[in-house]
């Protein structure tokens, strides 16, 4: 980064050599990121190739044992569960977020739009731990939900420490992101296309599926990706709402480093796998996004 070569210098009167300004601007952040992000990521890749490593062990690559250990049934189950949680959350946020974003961007009165959107995403600014904690208060056996249900004479639900609680917590945490992205996409929608479609005799359903949805596909793709990635790496909701039955990749990684039986090598391999899945998802989006752009 320090050897950056500028093609255009904004001023001819600058007395310093051409490389000084770009270096001053780009080197501090560049060095910081290189040292604390790129090098560490390469280090965990190296560490992931070391079998049975414990804290303080010597970093010395020697095999793929840690990756083979991941594909054993019990750990594969954990990864499968993480993927299901991430996909489930993505589906739930898309299904519930699209109508909200549609209403906020296209139906709500113009002058209320910004305020309504801000109001919808405001809970995002509260502590994520305390948001999960609130769901514990609601979902626990003697909590708000069951008190409400039994006061109506309905059977109580045992949701806490099970998959439904994790899905509720994750959907709650990630829905504002989905709505924000879909809103940005729907707001830019060319309304004349909707009118033209209606004028040409399309039913509202046809207009929705053949004009609105295709036009907002980039937003849908971006929102889906963002929620999927964040859902896959989520630690707090599965940990606090999922109980022992909802072990996920992030929790497994956490335990390899801060749990009672540590294995840094295995934890590193799992982290690399998480990074690879995320990268794959982004690569797919870019590829798909390009195809989509071409098809228009």
């Amino acid at each position: 980064m320090t050897s950056s070569v500028p093609k255009s210098e904004p001023t001819a009167t600058a007395p310093s050599p051409k490389w000084v300004q770009p270096t001053l601007l780009l080197a501090p952040a560049g060095i910081w990121l290189l040292l604390l992000l790129v090098v560490p990521t390469l280090l965990i890749f190296e560490l992931s190739l070391v079998p049975n490593i414990n804290p303080g062990g010597i970093v010395n690559p020697s095999g793929l044992d840690n990756y083979l250990r991941i594909v054993q049934p019990e750990r594969l189950n954990v990864i499968w569960r993480s993927l299901l949680f991430a996909v489930g959350t993505t589906v739930l946020t898309l299904a519930s977020g699209f109508p909200v974003a549609y209403y906020l961007a296209l139906i709500a009165p113009q002058r209320w739009r910004n305020l309504l959107l801000l109001g919808f995403v405001l809970p995002l600014w509260t502590s994520s731990l305390l948001r999960s904690y609130a769901w514990i208060t609601i979902l626990r056996p003697t909590g708000v939900l069951n008190t409400f249900l039994s006061s109506l004479g309905l059977p109580t639900l045992d949701l806490l420490n099970r998959a439904p609680a994790v899905l509720i917590g994750m959907t709650y945490s990630l829905l504002p992101y989905m709505v924000l992205i879909l809103y940005a996409s729907l707001e830019k929608l060319d309304r004349r296309l909707l009118e033209a479609s209606a004028d040409l005799g399309a039913t509202p359903q046809q207009t929705f599926w053949k004009v609105t949805v295709p036009q907002s596909l980039p937003g849908i793709a971006a929102g889906t990706l963002l929620v999927f990635i964040n859902g896959l790496g989520d630690f707090i909701n599965p940990e606090l709402l999922g109980g022992t039955s909802s072990m996920t990749a992030a929790r497994l990684i956490y335990n390899q480093f801060l749990g009672t039986t540590q294995n840094w090598g295995l934890g590193s391999a799992l982290s690399m796998m998480l990074i690879m899945v995320v990268s794959l998802a982004i690569a797919l989006l870019i590829k798909y996004g390009d195809n989509h752009a071409k098809s228009i």
Binding site: S4, V5, P10, T11, A14, P22, L25, L26, P28, A29, G30, W32, L33, L36, L37, V39, P40, T41, L43, I44, L47, G56, S96, P99, V100, Y103, I107, A108, N114, L118, P123, W125, T126, S127, L130, Y133, A134, T137, I138, R140, V144, N146, T147, Y172, L175, L194, A198, L232, G233, F235, I236, A250, I253, F257, L258, S268, S271, L274, I275, V278
Partner: protein, 264 residues
Amino acid sequence: MRSQSKFSWQALFTLLMFGFMYLPIAVLSFYSFNQAPNSAAWTGFTFSWYSQFLQDSRILSALMDSLAVSISAVALSAVIGTLMAIGLARYQFLGKGLYQGMAYLPLIIPDIAIAVATLVFLATIAVPLSLWTVIAAHVVFCLSYVALSVSTRLVDLNPHLEEAALDLGATPLQALVMVLLPQLMPAIISGCLLAFVLSMDDFLIVKFTAGGGVTTLPMEIFSRIRVSVKPDMNALSVFLMVTSGFVAIVAELMRQRTHKKRFQ
């Protein structure tokens, strides 16, 4: 199109989802004033949970640690993140794509992976964990958010203003401080506020990079709520919500000011 009645099903559904978003907040607020420590039933009004956490020295010292981390990390990120955004907007160079990829990587990689990588790095170079290691780790993602906010603003700026300053004899530093920075200030502030809130909220990266002497607010909250439901945590939640709600509204006003200026 069919007539847009005021009570479309989308409006009703949106109202329902607003209820979903505010239900946990309403529940926490409600119980923060409830006398009974561990019951879903209302037994009477009290402020005691608020006075309890305000007198809790562990909570207050955790809050101090959190503020120390977030303020330091955001201050440093504001400087180097802004410089990076300006540099990226201004220059073409070999490997720019790679540099950009690296700059926005922290927005994409899951927190747990960043936390693990930083811990392994610190252990490898044998740096003892402390408040400083937490700050260093937080700068990584904070500077990405600041740079993202600043770079969107840079796109809309008039480059001739800075050129005019230079033509009129300003040094590049003067042009940067007196012409460019004032125009970027709303974007820098809104980026910093977002970074600050995310830094205050971070649990995983702190947990992995903090030494024994450091306990931030999320760490303290985590250790308490994992065991059981604690009514003073309700009061703390409400307190933090009001504070961060205020920050959110300031950030939004900043963003709108930036947005308005764009069309002047």
